[in-house]
Amino acid sequence: MGQYECHVFVCTSGETCPTQGDTEKYVKVLRAGVQKAGKQVEVRINKTGCFSQCGHGPMIVVYPDDVWYAGVQESDLDEILTSHILGGRPVERLRYAPGVPGANKIDVEKKDLAPRGVDAGAARPSSTWKRVCRVDEVAANGIKQFSVEGTDIVVVNAGEEMFAFQALCPHEAVSLAEGIHDGCVLTCLEHMWQFDLRTGGPMGDAEAGLTGYPLRREGEELYVDFDGAASRKGA
């Protein structure tokens, strides 16, 4: 037996789930519900990466019951919370039944590289997207600073995903392009402040998060949407 009676995983950083619903908000709603019920010790809600079932999202998985939910809408959360997470009765109508084991991605068309489930993304008119650079201008696993129409940003190349943030570390105003990342965590080497690449949220010693911007790939070009900025200051 593990540490929690009920361990819930919400995909917030896969390729498609965060584009099919505001999964960051799902996490907040579920956590708030668990807290309201006073079950923080027994129940853990975790953000997670891809389940390799892309196209069936937003997905939520509940252990130890091993119940997988597909296509979860915001309006379904209350039922999942009350009936299953707190009540122990899975919500049958939302259960995922793909009929094949293992990875099962639907061949969806290439989606936006929209990080952290910012709801802006593809729905915004294209005029708000500003060109940043060619995709290959940011080295594999690299971080590079750009000035886009007077705003300084850094673009982080994390292999399968790319992210855009404010250029300067909130601590000492040093460029984050001087920092490093490991695909999950961005570290400013100046004073070791760390940030979650997928949310911009502060980790460890960091006392403030980063403003992140939706990033979109069109062909070999990257575009940023400043109107979709998601600030994690003090998160």
Binding site: A173, I180, D182, T187, L189, M192, G204, D205, E207
Partner: protein, 346 residues
């Protein structure tokens, strides 16, 4: 002069003596204002002046590049002219329990001598003994030379009456030229100590990894003395990587061998030479050490592969070496920042 500092998590008030740096007054009073180098370069101690008058004793300090407006100042260089109110953008940390607060001291130079062609050692005999943690440093001021210099303690003693230091000769460096060029035995110095966060205490229950370049080995010697004194290596491993350019730049090898000989199966010392092949005579003189060619962080990365579990790392040396080591420890070692200890001096 009363100084009032508001931070994200509270307000602190303390009294500055006339002419006393604001940072020094705070630390002396147990107020843990943010700082790293304490000598005007790192910018960590910047604050915004909300009211009152302060004066910087070193307006052209390199740390000034972090200041964004005329109201911002470096607390390590600033003296309050009257009661003043400051604001810092981050949260104050609680002082680490049992870490002694620094205070202004004085002492005299004893036994200055050369360790290599460009590294010297000296002791300071204190007027009054102090306690410090292994890995901490002291701010030394030489009469007639403006500004403080930071040097790590080499020794570790409770109620230490002497502090031992090493200094690398820097062409044009006023203090290092003073130490190298004059008969300084008995000269009086001003000291503010102990300071610094790269401390080792034997209650950490982790293996120790030290990566040092050149005179950066100083603080590691104190850490090793403390760890051996507490028998830390009876249960935990020690990995020391000491990088120098060539064999003639190496020093403290006999002292390192003495530590190693006490824990021959637990404490590993590796000397990395960046600018020459390892001379066979050197390897023969220290058969208990490992020697390697290359930059010390690269050597450490290679030899520590797969061994980064339960590690507390200490890093000191020239800034590019420190930077490369931090990248190694974060990226390859995946160490949490709390287990990577270093103090940025530039």
């Amino acid at each position: 002069m009363n100084v009032h500092v508001s931070a994200r998590n509270g307000i602190r008030e303390f009294v500055c003596e006339p002419g006393e740096k604001i940072l020094h007054a705070a630390l002396r009073n147990g107020v843990e204002l943010p700082y790293e180098c304490a000598t005007g370069t790192c910018g960590t101690c910047k604050a915004t002046l909300l009211g009152g008058q302060v004066e910087s004793e070193w307006p052209e300090a390199p740390g000034g590049r972090y200041l964004k407006s005329a109201a911002e100042l470096l607390m390590c260089q600033s003296v309050a002219r009257d009661a003043c109110r400051l604001e810092i953008a981050i949260a104050l940390k609680a002082p680490e329990p049992d870490v002694p607060s620094p205070c202004p001291l004085a002492g005299v130079v004893r036994a200055p001598h050369h360790l290599t062609h460009d590294v010297a050692a000296f002791d300071v005999e204190l007027d009054e003994p102090i306690d410090f943690e292994a890995g901490q440093f002291a701010l030394l001021t030489v009469p007639g030379i403006r500004g403080a210099r930071a040097y790590s303690m080499v020794n570790f003693d409770r109620q230490a009456g002497r502090l031992s230091f090493v200094v690398k000769k820097k062409p044009g460096g006023a203090v290092s030229e003073w130490l190298f060029g004059h008969d300084v035995e008995g000269a009086r110095l001003g000291i503010f100590a102990p300071v610094g966060h790269a401390t080792f205490r034997p209650d950490i229950r982790k293996h120790i990894l030290c990566i040092a370049g050149g005179s950066g080995i100083a603080g590691m010697m104190s850490i090793l003395a403390r760890a051996c004194g507490a028998d830390h290596f009876a249960g935990w491993d020690g990995h020391v990587f000491f990088g120098v350019r060539t064999a003639r730049d190496a020093f403290f090898l006999d002292e390192l061998e003495a530590f190693r000989a006490r824990y021959p199966t637990k404490l590993a010392i590796t000397v990395a030479l960046s600018d020459e092949e390892v001379p066979p005579a050197l390897a023969a003189a220290y058969p208990g050490f490992a020697f390697a060619g290359g930059l010390v962080h690269a050597v450490a990365g290679e030899r520590m592969k797969g061994r980064f579990t339960d590690i507390r790392a200490y890093v000191a040396g020239p800034p590019p070496m420190v930077d490369a080591s931090l990248r190694l420890l974060l990226r390859e070692g995946r160490l949490p920042p709390a287990d990577i200890r270093y103090d940025k001096f530039s």
